[in-house]
Structure formats: C-alpha cells, structure tokens
C-alpha cells in the first residue's frame, strides 16, 4: 500500500479499528445471532438483525471501543432495540398476497429441531418485551440489573416481565399437558 494512503487510513482509524472490530465479530457474532434468533423466532431474520446492528456499530467503532462500558452489552441492547423496531415496521414491510387463513400455522422461516417444540411455540406467543426478558434471564443468564440495562427499563419492570412471561408459559404448558392427557 502506498505510504501516504496508509498514513491517511491510520489517521482516520481505518487500519487500527478493523482488526479489533473483526476480533469482536469473531468472538461474539454466534452468541448475538443466537440471542437474536430467540427474540425473533427466525434464523434468517436474526442474521439480518445482527448484520444491521454490526454495520452501524462499525461506523462508530472508534468511539465505542474507547468507551468505558461493555461493548457487548451495548451491542446486545442495540440488537434488542432493533428487534423491537423491526416488529413495529413488520406490518409496513410485508404485503400478504394470500389468504391469511392459508397461512395459519405456517411461518415464513420454519424452525424445527428443538426437543421441546411446544414450549418454543408458546414462547413465540409472548409479547416481545416479555419474551426478551425471559430469553435474557434463562438463555443469557443475566441479572435483573443487566436485563434492565438491555431493555432500558426499571428492575421492577424486568421482574414483572419475567414473572408474567413465565406464568404464561407455565399455564400454556399445563393446559396443553391436560389436553393431551384427556
């Protein structure tokens, strides 16, 4: 590479930032995509979510990498916010060309493979905030304080989300169990 160009890139941070950013992506992209997949219920959408967030993170990586907070926590919060914003935009970005009844029970990205598919389907029925709180608690093993930071709410709200989400899952699971027994 020509020396003036290299010096200009080093001054702008391109050369110094790229390896650190690549290391961050290599270390955390799998966990972030899995977390996003549990939030969205779609593997392809999860990759799009994380890719979208990482692109925006990269454009500000120089300032983020020098901040005192955890970059991973920041990125996880960004993924959560992107997921919630994505759901709000969902109705405007998708046009249904077939009858809604024909799509009953089908999903855009069928996901089969878990051992407890019934519980997974019930998790997907929870409101987005409750589902995010349950995933953060039981998949990421975060505390109330950490979940409150990710969801940008109070700890009492986090406890309410987790409690209500878990209760809804428990009720649905019991109802399904009693129905299958009968």
């Amino acid at each position: 590479m020509h020396m003036p160009v290299l010096a200009a890139l080093r001054t702008s941070g391109e050369v110094d930032v790229a390896p650190a950013f690549d290391d961050f992506v290599r270390d955390h992209q799998a966990g972030l995509v899995r977390y996003a997949a549990l939030l969205s219920g779609s593997r392809t959408q999860a990759e799009d979510l994380v890719q979208e967030v990482l692109v925006r993170i990269y454009l500000r990586w120089d300032s983020l990498s020098h901040s005192s907070g955890s970059v991973l926590a920041y990125v996880r919060r960004a993924v959560t916010n992107e997921h919630l914003a994505w759901r709000r935009r969902w109705s405007t970005r998708h046009v249904h060309l077939v009858d809604a009844e024909a799509l009953q029970g089908a999903s855009i990205d069928p996901w089969v493979g878990g051992h407890d598919d019934g519980l997974w389907q019930q998790l997907m029925q929870l409101p987005a905030q409750q589902r995010a709180a349950v995933v953060l608690r039981y998949y990421e093993d975060l505390t109330d304080v950490e979940i409150a930071v990710v969801l940008n709410c109070r700890q009492a709200t986090v406890r309410g989300h987790v409690s209500r989400g878990l209760s809804a899952l428990r009720r649905a699971s019991e109802a399904k169990g009693s129905a299958s027994d009968g």
Partner: protein, 146 residues
C-alpha cells in the same frame, strides 16, 4: 430455579444449539462501505434543499415588499394582512333603518345569511342600500321583516 424454569433454560439452549451463523468482520465492513454513499446522497440532497431555499427566499421577500401598503395602516407585515384588514378598521356604513343585519336576513348581495364567509358585508364598498335596489341579479330580498 424450579423444574419448569430449568425446562425453559434447556429448551432455549437446544433451540439454537446447531445455529452456526456466517457473519464475519470483513463482511460487515464491506457492507458498511457500501452504505456510505447513501449518507453522501442524503448530504447532497440536504445541500440542494438549502441552496434552493436560499434562492427562493429573496424572491419571497421581494414580493412581500412590492405590495402596496395603505398610508396610515398599522399593518406593515405580510401582504395578507395588508389586503385584508379586519372589519373593525373599516368605517361602518350608516343604516337607513338603524337595524343591524341578523344572520337570518339575506344580505344585500343576495347571498343568504347565516353562514360565515370570507368577505364580511361591511367590507363591500358598494353595498350601501341607499337606492332600495341591489346591484346583482340574485333573488330579491324578502320584504317581510319580523
């Protein structure tokens, strides 16, 4: 953590255990590089809008100064204020009967009353019923007055 919570924990782990995403740092950086021209386009659009506004602003200001201003009028602002003074500033014409126009009565220009219009009757310079007949060919005003 009770049994059901452990079940939720296990279900979440199993659900994404075989997920192997293919997002790489260079790929993200390449995508970021492709998106940068969008910001440039937005910047150019904003600059074009600013130039257009600067070009239009003197024209609007010159049009505002070219409109005539009545001497003695307290309004020196926009042309709308100058051309449409409030009715209270116009001298009220004397009424032959001394009665004011009620909303149920038809006005002198033949337009039935009762609805608000953009031009109040008092602003019309030739609306004085001095001769007993109107200037327009609209249906005549009823003669029976309450």
């Amino acid at each position: 953590m009770d049994e059901f919570e452990r079940r939720v924990h296990t279900m979440l782990r199993d659900q994404v255990a075989d997920l192997e995403p293919a997002i790489t740092g260079p790929g993200v950086r390449a995508e970021a590089g492709r998106r940068r021209p969008r910001s440039h386009i937005a910047l150019m659009a904003a600059a074009a809008a600013a130039v257009l506004a600067i070009a239009i602003l003197p024209i609007l200001l010159s049009r505002g100064h070219s409109s005539p201003v009545r001497p003695g009028s307290p309004f020196t602002g926009t042309s709308q204020e100058q051309t449409n003074p409030p009715p209270s500033l116009t001298p009220k014409p004397p009424s032959s009967t001394g009665r004011t126009t009620s909303p149920s009565q038809p006005r002198v220009d033949g337009v039935p009353g009762g609805t608000a219009t953009t031009q109040p009757p008092l602003n019309m310079p030739s609306a004085l019923p001095t001769t007993g007949h109107t200037r327009v060919s609209s249906p005549p005003a009823p003669t029976s007055m309450p």
